[in-house]
């Protein structure tokens, strides 16, 4: 009935319930406030309307009242704040073993690449009931990845990764919008997130795969000659990349950083900025030499070299392991039903 007149967005992720609950709480709180104020205003202005010979009664004010209506709202606000913060933390913290999808936004399309190697444009196929982590970057301006049904939004910035995640709960096709104004066809930069039953998803996944993203990355790694320095023993002129992802790294300037996706990305594009302690600054920059997709593949490859990066569907040592290791685990789960 409300096909053309929706009053509430579809609810299709684990976050949706959390956000809706807080939203409903806010609706109730503000509904009560509105009721209180509107009733008071209407009642006072009717009850105390001007009558000849009845002067207004002057009231200076009341400090206790002022305190009451400062402190009570403040307490309510703090409840909202804390609740909001908790929901936000959940939305900002991807689970460890999430399936990874690399997102490259450009004017005006979404390019999505699954860790397993499938590439899509403006469409993202995901299985139901599985955590999906989006590792996103932009080729040009700022975009924003928004799926109303998932109550999930994250700006996609050029020059770095931003991360978002969701866990779809209901099969179906959902709007994907760009919500950060990005130029002429901003409103055309839309797509669909298609949530599938695990079995269907398996079937979809098996079509037209070129190999996992990390394998592509390994190929690029070899083509660019990275392996001559980044050797898997400790004899190379560059750091050994085995097991680097997710670990703290000591830098030449004394700082320590965690080797996350953004760090790996920065090392490829601006190797001098955060050089690893004990190594010479000999690595050339690859800025302009590799595309965003190639950087993603390289990052996926380096991640696959360490246990922290092997989570989810990102397969371990590339090529060797069958493509959909984690996918099978879920499909087993669904077979039990």
């Amino acid at each position: 009935m409300f096909d053309n007149f929706p009053l509430w967005p579809q609810r299709a992720s684990t976050m949706a319930g959390n956000v809706d609950a807080l939203y409903i709480f806010l609706l109730i709180v503000s509904g009560m406030m509105i009721l209180l104020i509107f009733t008071a205003v209407i009642f006072f202005s009717a009850r105390f309307r001007h009558r000849r010979g009845v002067p207004a009664e002057q009231i200076e004010g009341s400090t206790p009242l002022e305190l009451i209506w400062s402190v009570i709202p403040f307490v309510v606000f703090m409840v909202i704040f804390l609740w909001g913060a908790i929901v936000y933390f959940k939305g900002r913290t991807p689970p460890r073993d999430a399936t990874e999808v690399y997102v490259v936004a450009k004017q005006w399309m979404w390019k999505l690449e699954h860790a397993e190697g499938q590439r899509e444009i403006n469409e993202l196929h995901v299985p139901v009931d599985r955590d999906v982590k989006l590792i996103m970057t932009s080729q040009d301006v700022i975009h924003s990845f928004f799926v109303p049904a998932f109550r999930m939004k994250q700006d996609v910035l050029p020059g770095r990764y931003t991360v978002a995640w969701f866990r779809a709960t209901k099969p179906g096709s959902y709007h994907l919008f760009c919500t950060q104004y990005c130029g002429t066809q901003h409103s055309g930069m839309i797509g669909n997130v298609i949530v599938m039953e695990p079995a269907q998803y398996e079937a979809w996944m098996s079509g037209g795969v070129t190999g996992p993203l990390s394998a592509t990355g390994e190929k690029i790694f070899a083509e660019l000659g990275c392996a001559t320095c980044h050797r898997s023993d400790s004899q190379g002129r560059g750091p050994n990349l085995q097991g680097v992802f997710g670990r703290p790294v000591d830098l030449a300037d004394g700082r320590t950083v965690t080797a996350d996706e953004n760090y790996l990305r920065e090392c490829i594009l601006d190797p001098g900025a955060k050089r690893v302690k004990g190594f010479q600054p000999i690595m050339p920059t690859f800025q302009g030499l590799v595309s965003e997709e190639q950087v993603n593949a390289l990052v996926a490859y380096v991640k696959s070299l360490s246990p922290a990066g092997k989570s989810g569907a990102a397969p371990g040592p590339a090529v060797a392991v069958p493509v959909r290791a984690a996918g099978r685990a879920v499909s087993k789960g669904s077979q039990v039903q």
Binding site: A252, D253, D270, G272, A273, R275, Q280, P281
Partner: protein
């Protein structure tokens, strides 16, 4: 301009504008107005300082490398020039207040000369930057190692951000200097015409406030721009 103050009766002090009750009120209004304007100026430079702070922390090595292409001695010399000009400005204000005409005119002339000296040194530095292709834009070039790491070249893009901030900050400061010199030439003219008396020297006072403020900005720009990691 049909200045209604002249029409309004009972005005005795020609400098007293019609809407003020007494000279003291007018003086207080002017000085408060100037201080508030300086508050605006602080925030104007504040946006630049914010950008500077963030990139300096992010790209410290590159900033140090870029900074060391500046001539710190010239920067220090310019600091001294500005400090001397601040002294001549307070002396001028004092002279106006105490009706010392010669001292007033002399201090104002000195201030203007020092102002031009500052701009001259600055122009010399700018010229060198042009010759070295250190001006951000299409012809920007930067090849220098990071201080303390002779084997590591600074990232030219990050150095360009340094130079962009350098030129915008010092350029904005120089614009303020030029405006300041203009104000002081006008003050010199007014002083020469004998417009300032111990009872009325408000323009001297607020002009001086402006000049000192420009000096203070430079007092910060000098260490921030010229003295990054100089010891390495």
């Amino acid at each position: 301009m049909p200045d209604s103050s002249l029409i309004h009766g009972e005005v005795q002090n020609p400098a007293l504008l019609h809407h003020f009750a007494e000279p003291q009120q007018q003086r207080d209004a002017a000085s408060l107005g100037m201080w508030i304007f300086l508050g605006t100026e602080v925030m104007f430079f504040g946006g630049l300082f914010c950008a500077y702070l963030i990139y300096r922390l992010k790209y410290f090595g590159d900033f140090a490398a870029a900074s060391q292409t500046l001539n710190a001695a010239l920067g220090a010399a310019n600091t001294v020039v500005l400090i001397c000009s601040s002294l001549t400005v307070v002396l001028a204000v004092w002279a106006a207040q105490h009706a010392r005409r010669t001292m007033l005119l002399g201090s104002l002339v000195l201030t203007i000369i020092l102002g031009f000296a500052f701009l001259g040194i600055k122009a010399d530095e700018y010229q060198e930057k042009f010759e070295l292709h250190h001006v951000p834009g299409a012809s920007f070039q930067f090849q220098k190692s990071i201080p303390g790491h002779p084997d590591q070249m600074a990232n030219p893009q990050h150095a360009q951000i340094y130079f962009a901030l350098y030129f915008i900050m010092t350029g904005l400061h120089a614009v303020h200097m030029i405006v300041g010199i203009g104000i002081f030439i006008w003050l010199l003219y007014s002083a020469w015409r004998g417009r300032f008396t111990p009872d009325y020297y408000t323009p001297m006072e607020i002009g001086g406030l402006y000049w000192h403020f420009v000096d203070i900005i430079w007092i910060y720009l000098f260490p921030l721009l010229y003295l990054i990691d100089l010891h390495k």
